[in-house]
């Protein structure tokens, strides 16, 4: 049984693909949305639509209240305060914002640390920043199970060269491996107290209890659409005392204190200071509804359900001897949300297409982790990923699809 009733998700409960019941195993790319999220967005536009913080009229007030209520709900869900919640379009924009915001603190020769398994969204902004500021980008290696090369990290941290930024993901979108954030934070702080630790939490926030105030990191990026909310909205959580020192990256409407011909001063209220232009209130309201929906179950229930799906998928993949499972297979290592594999002869796209022919939706490609794929010589991989609505019967469909792959490509 899935954790969340399939009937809560209109698309999942009604869709067939090429005559087969849809098996949606691509939730790490984006999650499906429950009816309560769709209703919240529709209700906002049907009953409350007006610009926020602008008109002194009934609807303007109602919309502004909806905006602040949603901010409160989302911040609380993530263990942050509304002042620490900077709304963006998605995780990528959040990480770019972090890179822009810290840019002026980077001096030539300083170090920016990231890891080999990062999504391009947590790699390219830092690579560009390092080039622009003549800083050194240090890419910490990982093994095929997604485990950090601690020798390399400790060596870099022990050096006297200043480390300004450490950017890493919470859960790998490709390997499903989990970085031990508390250990990384301890190691970084021991040597470089003021390094800004930025975490890509896109894959984590829907699977585990993310409480920003307990992580010890400085910034945490995430997207609503990975956690049952709408596309086009995300956030960067930033430790308040740090955010107070950041120059706004976007300037213009709604975030000012005073504008004269000579100069502009920005709003001192952080919620306003980092919200330039008319925000996407409906999507934020939808995101808040998603957080409330997810909150129906404890995080131990979420994790237990995910573990069952991961274990079953690993079992299925192991029945196809030529498939190489990538990411943690050692039962002592955490793996959350997905299982990916490569085949020595059959390209991931071809596997994906045959799976699609029996209604199974998986991701095939490099999942925006080209450096990781290149390091291990994987041209592309196939990833099955899960959510609270994923049912074991969908994994039976995956197994059937893989049998078809073996039959079609058997003599390749």
């Amino acid at each position: 049984m899935p954790l969340a009733p399939r009937t809560d998700f209109p698309l999942l409960s009604s869709s067939t693909v090429r005559g087969h019941q849809l098996a949606y195993l691509d939730s790490a790319a984006t999650s499906q949305k429950p009816q309560v999220v769709l209703d919240a967005i529709n209700d906002y536009y049907s009953t409350s639509n007006a610009n926020v913080h602008r008109g002194a009229h009934f609807l303007g007030d109602k919309s502004t209240q909806a905006w602040h209520q949603a901010r409160q709900t989302i911040a609380q869900f993530l263990g942050a305060t509304p002042q620490e919640l900077v709304i963006t379009r998605n995780t990528t924009e959040a990480l770019n914002l972090a890179a822009r915001a810290v840019a002026s603190s980077i001096q030539p020769g300083d170090r920016i640390i990231t890891t080999l398994l990062e999504h391009h969204s947590n790699f390219v902004p830092w690579q560009r920043l390092a080039r622009e500021r003549q800083a050194e980008l240090v890419v910490v290696k990982v093994d095929k199970q997604g485990q950090l090369d601690w020798d390399q990290l400790n060596e870099v941290l022990a050096s006297s060269t200043p480390v300004r930024v450490v950017a890493l993901s919470h859960i790998s979108n490709t390997l499903g491996s989990v970085f031990p954030l508390s250990q990384v934070v301890e190691a970084v702080r021991h040597h470089h107290k003021n390094a800004v630790i930025v975490v890509d939490g896109a894959q984590a926030a829907v699977h585990m209890d993310v409480k920003f105030d307990q992580l010890g990191v400085d910034a945490y990026a995430l997207s609503a659409h990975k956690m049952l909310g709408p596309m086009g909205i995300g956030a960067l959580l930033v430790r308040r005392s740090l955010l107070e020192t950041w120059e706004p990256v976007l300037v213009g409407g709604g975030m000012i204190d005073e504008v004269t011909l000579e100069k502009t001063t920005y709003a001192t209220n952080l919620e306003e200071r980092f919200t330039a232009g008319t925000p996407d209130v409906a999507s934020l309201v939808g995101w808040a509804a998603a957080c409330e929906y997810l909150d129906q179950w404890s995080w131990s229930q979420h994790l237990a359900h995910d573990r069952e799906l991961v274990d079953r998928t690993l079992e299925i993949a192991k029945k196809f001897p030529e498939l190489e499972i990538i990411g943690p297979t050692d039962p002592d290592l955490p793996r959350i949300g997905s299982v990916a594999f490569v085949h020595p002869k059959i390209h991931a796209h071809d596997i994906g297409q045959v799976l699609d022919s029996v209604g199974v939706a998986v991701r095939s490609g490099h999942h925006c982790t080209m450096p990781l794929h290149n390091e291990f010589g994987w041209p592309a991989s196939v990833r099955a990923s899960f959510q609270c609505y994923t049912d074991l019967s969908e994994l039976d469909a995956l197994a059937e699809g893989l049998r078809k792959v073996a039959a079609v490509f058997g003599n390749l």
Partner: protein
């Protein structure tokens, strides 16, 4: 081809195993590469040409669609005039020519790696003739 029958895919696998025009050329006039950034499909095409004659050989790696597309495309590119004509086709016309007109949008990108290579080849050859 958005809905593959098992037979259609098996035929494609057979075609993949017997690709045409595969190889390298000694002293080519031009060598071009093209790739699909989303999955690592890549092809390298080498050509020898004068004002009318054209000989192409290619190598590559990637999914079946990207590789079969290159093999099929070169059947239609046997002269400089044909290269000019084929590389100038709109994407949908090109996909029709190489019998991949029913692909999903994502798989069209795989098939169009071959067109990207032919466009680059046309550019390179016209540059070298202008010199």
């Amino acid at each position: 081809m958005s809905e593959y029958s098992d037979e259609a895919y098996l035929d494609l696998v057979e075609e993949y195993k017997q690709q045409e025009f595969v190889g390298v050329l000694e002293q080519p006039t031009a060598v071009v590469e093209a790739k699909n950034a989303s999955c690592g499909d890549r092809v390298t095409v080498a050509a020898k040409s004068d004002s009318t004659h054209l000989e192409c050989k290619w190598t590559g790696q990637g999914c079946i669609i990207s590789q079969v597309a290159m093999s099929r495309a070169l059947r239609h590119v046997q002269s400089t005039a044909e290269l000019k004509q084929v590389s100038a086709l709109a994407d949908h016309e090109y996909l029709e020519l190489i019998q991949f007109s029913d692909l999903t949008l994502q798989r069209q990108r795989c098939a169009l790696v071959s067109k990207q290579a032919l466009e680059r080849l046309q550019d390179r050859l016209s540059d070298s003739q202008n010199l």
